[in-house]
Symmetry: C2
Subunit: 333 residues, 2 copies
């Protein structure tokens, strides 16, 4: 490994001068600068970021704690965060929890031993451990928080209640009055709450037995739940789901029962995963602003690092929006 001293010797200057040109400080005369740059090129010198990290306390790396990456929602967020960080010269330390609080805590401790410059947390279950997060000593931002975020920390998340509300409103505006809801509960509780609020606006109370739990947010689970709903004699005019994956399964189940979407039954999802657009018929859904969330959260972190200031504990609720495609229509008859 070639060090700063090697470069200094080669250029006939001192280590400190090399440091100055490497970091672009304008206190070096053009001539010395040229000499040093030549030496750097000849030797193929690359600054040792670990040494710099020890000296300055900054490592140019940001930790991201996320439940999983094997899920289109989180992987889209991770992809966007990583891209933004790389644009600013930062690297991503990815830490997966798989919903395991112990593992999350281990990661947090480890990230702090590694002196990451900031931490982004998208794990909203089992991590409401504010003291631990505050003790990190670096900027922390919470994102993709669907449960009530712990107070005192900045959060950039989606307005999940509004996502449900928009789905509900879209349906009642089309004239639907007897919705069936299929949701991954209790995880998506708040989305269902929003759906109910929308129908309440037009005087419709969604009865509890019209809300079915899909044990997982998968299309298979949605398929099974829809079959159950149909089996119980219900023939809804519309189905609201807490997730696109569920909606896709629901659509399949309906079709297999000889019901046309949207002519016989309207279906709406939440999320807007890539498959939603590619489905047949293309799925009408409420798009969650993943990229905006990733950008905003990363931006807050990057600014805080630059200004050496903590992130103010503001709560930012990003608004989802309806993406009209082909699975919704007014009720038949």
């Amino acid at each position: 490994m070639v060090t700063m001293d090697d470069v200094a010797r080669r250029a006939g200057v001192t280590k400190q001068t090399v440091s100055n040109v490497v970091r672009g400080r304008a206190v070096v005369s053009p001539r010395t600068k040229a000499k040093v740059e030549a030496a750097i090129a000849e030797l193929g010198y690359q600054p040792n970021l670990v040494a710099r990290g020890l000296a300055t306390g900054t490592t140019m790396t940001v930790g991201f704690i996320v439940p999983t990456v094997a899920n289109p929602f989180y992987s889209a967020v991770v992809e966007e965060v990583e891209t933004l960080l790389e644009m600013h010269g930062y690297h991503l330390l990815l830490a997966t929890t798989r919903g395991d609080g112990e593992r999350a805590r281990r990661h947090l401790a480890s990230l702090s031993s590694r002196s990451v410059d900031a931490v982004l947390v998208a794990e909203d279950r089992d991590l409401g451990d504010v003291p631990l997060l505050e003790r990190m000593g670096v900027p922390v931002v919470l994102c993709a928080w669907e449960t009530t975020p712990p107070g005192g920390l900045p959060v950039v998340t989606v307005d999940y209640e509004k996502a449900g509300y928009l789905a509900g409103r879209h349906m009642h505006k089309l004239g639907h009055r007897r919705p069936v809801v299929i949701a991954d509960l209790p995880a998506h509780q708040i989305r269902v709450q929003g759906m109910r609020r929308a129908f309440a606006e037009v005087g419709v109370t969604v009865p509890d037995d019209s809300v079915l739990a899909a044990p997982e947010a998968t299309s298979e689970s949605g398929y099974a739940a829809m079959l159950r709903a149909l089996g119980s004699g219900n023939k809804p005019s519309c189905v609201l789901t807490s997730t696109d994956a569920i909606a896709l399964g629901v659509t399949e189940a309906l079709r297999h029962q000889g019901l046309r979407v949207p002519e016989d039954v309207a279906v709406i999802g939440i999320d807007d995963i890539p498959q939603a657009a590619h489905a047949h018929p293309p799925l009408t859904t409420v798009s969650l602003p993943k990229r905006r969330m990733a950008r905003d959260a990363t931006g807050l972190l990057l600014n805080a690092i630059r200004d050496k200031q903590p992130v103010p504990p503001d709560v930012s609720l990003l608004s989802p929006e309806v993406v009209v495609r082909a699975t919704c229509a007014p009720p038949a008859g």
Copy 2:
């Protein structure tokens, strides 16, 4: 931040002794050890991994260069790699290239400045820069390499040719003789080659005009390609696709044209993404051993780190296998 010196002072010993107990070296008397451990607990001391990294040259972190994470195949691999690393106390530095060679090279340089302990590379386009990889000075393993890997480096990858072969053999064993192939070309060239080899075994040459390119490996792209195939008057008895996503689109297109799967047309995919099992009908496919690949590659890296030896440049080709579900049947009539 509490340092080793603080702990030493508190325990009435020297920094070196603290270091010894922290690293679990058995050269400390039980009494001193207890004193030190008490001091550590009282002070909440955590070793500074950056300082240790500078002193030892090891950072307990592994870099992973991957084209994207917004894709079920790669995100499954990343998830598995991260889990294994975390089990061994290592952290994952995730670097995404999006197929951009320049970005890949930047990441490589950056990873080496950061003294990662090892590098895993799943970007097989535009990174055949062996010298660069060899100069890393740390163990390097290539994985998920579908193009011919550069010589001289260890690789753990899937036998993609065999994946195609198995898909082809599954079809010809059912009695199919006039296949249509829909593939993301040229990326999946080798899979198509395998399919052709399988049919050649039963004396069938797959003509070029039976091989359709899907511009992307998406279900939408598969849907469009299938429509084209049907439009050209072809009414194949079976369709082999280079990807599950394509296969899902193909199935939809067939159904929309009034053709039943598998009664009228058999369909097989490659990959075995989660949706394959959840599709209706569940997709028969050739499963790519992602987890095994992730485990083997990570294992090689971890062993090489432990033994302070480079990874021998062996090439490991993991065998895919057919997962029979519901989209294949013998040709009608």
